[in-house]
Symmetry: C2
Subunit: 454 residues, 2 copies
């Protein structure tokens, strides 16, 4: 079975008309969410440090770091947007493989689209194909590959970036086969890096290296024709289990991007049910912190194992505290990056409510469930059982939810009209004349003006 060549042929020959409308819509949702995450983290220290290291080595300044005035060459821009979009760990998740699919793919092709205009239709098509490639390759090695210690967003992402970029570059089947091989031999990224700046570096690096693979293949730089399936290729070297049928079966009939999910809250997925339940009770009853006597949570065992921190001191620790998360859910009605800032974790009002939150394990709970019991000072008891948390495949975020998340991320970076415009462009990505318009519109006017002067 020629896995690499089969995949290459599929990517090269696929027709846009054969993508179902709902798949295209999910691609727009993924893209919107990705742009929001990238803009939201564009001022983060991780991004500043990477830019400080790289900018002076940039080639032609053809592409944009989303949300900033900085322009870089396309490979550096792909790297930077991959970093920014994963910095908050708030981007999309393909639950079957735990790949964050958009980062590597969108970062690579948006940079390319800024160099050479691409119609939105072709852009979305390449994006969907790239996500298909990375997620299918991921499925072929998950979970063994992940369990060994590979960060699958990096290792599989490079294939997605190469495939999508190669499609836009118009590679032949042979060139695409080589591009996937050059991607295979650059596949990397260790889970050991979780909790450091290297975690968001991984999707950025996958974007950069996938783009390089496509550009090299375009010049007939050769690689193995069996980069994925050979005995010494990706599947067997980076995994103890390799299921090639996951890559080739029903190719073009099913679409992995249709299974994409989006995080409503800027923390580990395990505490999302508790946050969801608290926000629902808050909104239904117009709750205020001072009315509340106590908050009780019945949770799945993993919740306390992973997020049992009682008294977090800094923002990042707040993400590992179900107590802090429940408190901000009730006070702010949200759990975005702002709710995991140092200031918010130290806010006396938040601490006061946090101290009245208790949590107990219920072995019968599924991971996606929670029971929230709020006792009020007036004697009433409010209760909410969550079967599936918002953001799960069973209860996806609505388009309005995604827009609200976007606005939260863009707040303080873009003006309201700028945010409105950018959201509209993301929804319309599939019909834009020039997909790169999104990149230009992500830069706040003040920054654009400054860049123009420089």
């Amino acid at each position: 079975m020629e896995v690499t060549r089969t995949l290459a042929k599929f990517v090269v020959e696929h027709r846009h008309a054969d993508i179902p409308e709902k798949v295209r819509h999910e691609a727009a949702r993924s893209f919107l969410n990705w742009v929001g995450c990238a803009v939201g983290a564009s001022r983060h220290e991780t991004v500043e440090r990477a830019l400080a290291a790289l900018a002076e080595f940039s080639g032609p300044l053809e592409a944009t770091v989303l949300g900033r005035g900085d322009r870089l060459d396309i490979m550096q821009a792909a790297l930077m947007n991959g970093i920014t979009s994963h910095t908050f760990d708030f981007d999309d998740t393909h639950l079957k493989t735990v790949i964050h699919p958009s980062g590597p793919v969108a970062s690579a092709i948006l940079a390319l689209a800024e160099r050479e205009p691409v119609a939105g239709e072709d852009f979305v098509h390449a994006f969907i194909l790239g996500v298909e490639v990375e997620c299918r390759i991921g499925k072929a090695v998950y979970p063994a590959h992940y369990d060994i210690g590979w960060h699958i967003t990096g290792t599989a992402g490079v294939f997605g970036a190469a495939a999508a970029a190669g499609r836009l570059l118009g590679l032949t089947e042979q060139q695409m086969t080589w591009a996937l091989g050059i991607a295979a031999t650059q596949s990397c990224g260790l889970r050991e890096m979780f909790g450091t700046m290297c975690k968001p570096f991984h999707p950025g690096n996958a974007a950069r290296n996938g783009l390089l693979a496509a550009l090299l293949a375009q010049q007939n730089f050769t690689s193995s024709n069996q980069g994925i399936e050979a005995k010494r290729g990706f599947g067997h070297v980076l995994s103890t289990e390799f299921k090639p049928a996951e890559i080739t079966e029903r190719l073009g009939e099913t679409w992995e991007i249709a299974l994409n999910t989006y995080k409503p809250f800027a923390c580990g997925i395990v505490i999302h049910p508790a946050i969801d339940g608290c926000i629902q009770l808050r909104n239904e009853h117009g709750l205020k912190a001072e009315e509340i006597e106590s908050v009780g949570l019945n949770v799945h065992p993993l919740v306390l194992e992973l997020t049992g921190k009682k008294t977090p001191q800094v923002g990042l620790e707040g993400k590992f505290s179900v107590y802090h998360s429940a408190a901000v859910a009730i006070i702010h009605g949200a759990a975005g990056e702002a709710q995991y800032s140092d200031a918010c974790v130290r806010d006396p009002n938040v601490i006061a409510l946090r101290d009245r939150v208790s949590a107990s394990v219920d072995q019968a709970m599924h991971e996606d469930q929670v029971r929230v019991v709020i006792k009020l000072k007036d004697g009433r008891t409010l209760e909410k059982f969550v079967e599936h948390a918002i953001g799960s495949l069973d209860k996806p975020m609505s388009n309005a939810d995604l827009e609200a998340k976007f606005r939260g991320l863009a707040d303080g970076i873009l003006s309201k009209p700028e945010t409105d415009k950018l959201i509209r462009l993301c929804w319309d990505i599939g019909s834009l004349k020039d997909a790169a318009e999104v990149a230009r519109a992500s830069v706040p006017a003040a920054r654009s003006a400054k860049a123009a002067q420089a």
Copy 2:
């Protein structure tokens, strides 16, 4: 045991004075051989295609592609020189790990030295430390890591490049620890790519990414502090066996570069004894092809297994023919790239002698041995038993041999005075005021003039 930090501290704190003179001399020999290989392959198709893909994305043109007029930004130049120097597979070999040590390390730091002047003494020091790091990390995982399918020159090389570049950038111990971690999470390169342009891409990619690791760490871009030894770090994820003591024991007391070897012939090491024996008999007896009745070879079994091709049709196939190799050894007294060209493989004189070469397996032979029996038309029989082939650790190439190899590689690219000057600079690398002088001197005058006009 803190392996990564121990290594980082060693690289940051080591004093030049503590390197024995003979180790420094071996570094100069390695460097000379590396420059020759890079210059020699600088016109190769592999290099042309990579340059065609990359050059238009280059940043500041601060570094040189050795042997060419092209200038690129330092990360691209590191990539290109890593590619050129391994294109002929003629560079140095650390036999204990089969790493080709110079490519990743020298490519990274020579590019850096062109940006910011570096004294030759510091350059050689960083080079030796980089080689030490990559070879020790290689020893910790070899052979399991290689057997799985990793191309160890790529996977270990990125650490060497990061360490050497980081040393020249003056990283702190913490920054160097991060640089090694950022290297770990970029470690890649599959043996499946052997026989394609991706093989020489690996040391180039290691150089490029190692340099990136050092530049990011310099800006305090964080990674794990246990990138090498952690459960989900390099050693355990990329190998089934990890021996950390190989990295830390006797650090600073032994030097891996002292165990470096150089190939006298541009083909697999398994036929080097036969070529060596034939050249010795040729030179001792002033042999000419027309005097020879037959050439008989008693060889180790691997020789016929790997290089038993009787009638090679193209240059590359000649490398897998002990018959062709023996014939050119006798006719040309050499087995360089010129002897493995298509033209040479098709030369009627070579074919005529090749057809008179026979080989038989002798199970008692060691890999490094051969018996050559040449029967002359005048009835005489000449015999030579080779115990260790030239180029092995037991019978290293002399300085004069290395110079002759260099001249063969530079022939047709540099003029005789240019070659003389470049060889002298390589020998003197440790005392140059500015190590980058070597890069400038590698460019033929005609190309320099053309570049200046452009």
